[in-house]
Structure formats: structure tokens, C-alpha cells
Symmetry: C2
Subunit: 161 residues, 2 copies
DNA sequence: TATTGTTATACTCTATAACTATA
DNA sequence: TATAGTTATAGAGTATAACAATA
């Protein structure tokens, strides 16, 4: 593993993300939210997706998984789903007053979390970090080397037991 | 959120980690493993922890969670648990032949994954990435700012080295 | 009583497959 | 038949609380 130069970056990356995510989870939970809720609200506010599939894709989850979250959010009075009169298959997702309020709280928590993360880092360092992280993502999404799957479409017969 | 300078790094970090982790998961699954299994095997091989608590802490999970994984791994014939004659409370975890074999396969997959990740990145850039990621982790583990958790518990668990 | 680990239970996030309803 | 979304089900990973065994 430490073959080329140093510990596996994948390991460092996932451990860092795990630690940081837990703190973020706690911060969002402290004001009554969660990461999926935050991402859904953020996407609704910032991107105004035309339908749920688009929303799911933007959040990075499957449609059924999104439904799962939307059910909970609707039960909590954060959103409403109305059918589009023009195309009644489409459910238009809208934030309620409570949803807007929670969005603000979560946004504040997210921003505070981000400020904390940025402590002691110069803007150029942040930019470098972005660039390097994007590079990792590109490395892994483009051209599968051998064993992996590119976008999850192919199912390599696993040698699971 | 894009208040200070650019998109939240926490978001970029978690999205990158998610994408990269999924590819890594697939790579490990393709040879019959998983991330927790890999971390357990790797820790056993590299650190020879004295007991399960130490192992759990090194992997970054709770003791009960570790038991969960060890049960599955023992059922799969990857490890054995024997009581330490000197202190019969302690279960000594040892890799079986199959465990050693799987370790090698997972190590190869992990290394291949890591090489893929490093593509197009100079050693200095990798080093910079490590430094920046560690900084993020430190920022988040040291001195909690204010937003506590609802149950009032303290948040400084991992200490993942 | 303290320590080590297990069992029982449950939660969150995720996914796939089958289904309903529209078009 | 194709598209949008839901329901049903499942599985992985994690956690807490209560417990047993040992010291």
C-alpha cells in the first residue's frame, strides 16, 4: 500500500471525510436536520429542479431513495408535493414555511461548519484543495482501469464467496 | 454558503469521498471484500492490536460494531478468536489462511485503486493534499466551537491516526 | 467494581424490483 | 410502451444499552 509514496490517499480521504462528516452530521442534527435533508433543501433552493429525478441526481441518490427522504420531510411538514397540472406524472416539490425556516438554520450551521473547516487555510490553499479533490474524482470517474465500474452501470460478477 | 470564497469545502470533500469510496467499495467487493473488512485486516496485519478495543479504535468504530464484523468474518473463515490464556477476557484475533489470502487480494485492489487516484498528481501534490486533509481533520476535532450535540455528549471520539 | 467483549435491538442511508398512474 | 414516482423489501454500516465473563 505505502508502495509509491506514503499512505494510501484513499484511506486518508475517507478517514478525513468520516471525521468531518460526523461533526457536520452533529451540527445539522443539533438544529433538527441531517445531511440528506440539507442537500435536498439546498438543491431545491438553488437549482429548482424540474422533477424528482433531476433532484435525486443532483443530490446523488436514487429516485426511490429520494422518495424515502421526501416522505419523511413531507410528514415533518418541510415540503409539499403537488402534481403538475400540465403533466400529472410530475410531482412538484415545494418548501413550506417550516422548510424555509429549517433551510435557514441548516444554512447557518453549514456556514459555521465551513468557517471552522477553513481555519488556518489561505484562500489559495482552499483553491488547491478543491483542485486536488476534483482531480481525485476525475481520476476515479473517467476510464475504469480494469476491475471497477465507470458509473455503476455494469455489474461485474463478484467473487463473493 | 458560498459566502467566504467558493463552495463549501465540506460539500466538496464529502462528494469526493462518496464518489471515490463507491469505486473503492466496488473494487473491494469485486474480490470478495468490503471497506470494514479491509480496515480490520489491514489493522491486524500492520498494528497487531493487543485487544478488540484497540482494534476498534484503530478502525474508527465502536466495540459492538467491531464484534458485528468479526462475527461475519469468523463465519466466513477469515479470522479466529481465541481467548488469551493470561487474561481470558481478551480475545486474540488471528488471520486464518483464507484471511491472509483475502488480505493479499484486497491489498492489491487497494494499491491499484490508489495508483488510479494518484494519476496525474505529482508527489508534492499528494503531500500537499495530505497536509490539507489533515488540517481539515484537525480543525474539526480540536476545540469544538459552540454547537453542541442535543444529548450534551462531547465530540472528540476518533483520534484516528 | 472495573474491564473485555457479546447480544439484542434499532436507526440511517442506501439500493433493487415490482407496482401505480399517467402519457 | 415509456416515463414519473411510490411501495415493498432488503442490506450494509453504525450505534446504544443491557448483559456475561473474567479480573
Amino acid at each position: 500500500m505505502a508502495d509509491s509514496f506514503g499512505p494510501p490517499i484513499g484511506l486518508v480521504l475517507s478517514q478525513t471525510a468520516k471525521t468531518v462528516s460526523r461533526v457536520f452530521d452533529d451540527a445539522l442534527a443539533a438544529v433538527g436536520g441531517s445531511v440528506p435533508i440539507w442537500l435536498v433543501l439546498l438543491t431545491l433552493k438553488s437549482r429548482r429542479p424540474a422533477n424528482q429525478r433531476e433532484l435525486a441526481r443532483a443530490v446523488g441518490i436514487q429516485g426511490a431513495t429520494l422518495t424515502h427522504h421526501l416522505n419523511a420531510m413531507e410528514a415533518d411538514g418541510l415540503i409539499t408535493r403537488r402534481r403538475d397540472p400540465a403533466n400529472r406524472r410530475i410531482h412538484q416539490v415545494t418548501l413550506t414555511e417550516r422548510g424555509e425556516e429549517l433551510f435557514l438554520k441548516l444554512a447557518a450551521a453549514a456556514q459555521s461548519h465551513d468557517q471552522r473547516l477553513r481555519q488556518g487555510l489561505a484562500p489559495e490553499e482552499i483553491a488547491t484543495l478543491h483542485r486536488l479533490l476534483n482531480r481525485l474524482q476525475d481520476n476515479v470517474t473517467a476510464e475504469p482501469p480494469d476491475t471497477g465500474r465507470p458509473d455503476g452501470s455494469l455489474q461485474c460478477p463478484p467473487e463473493n464467496e
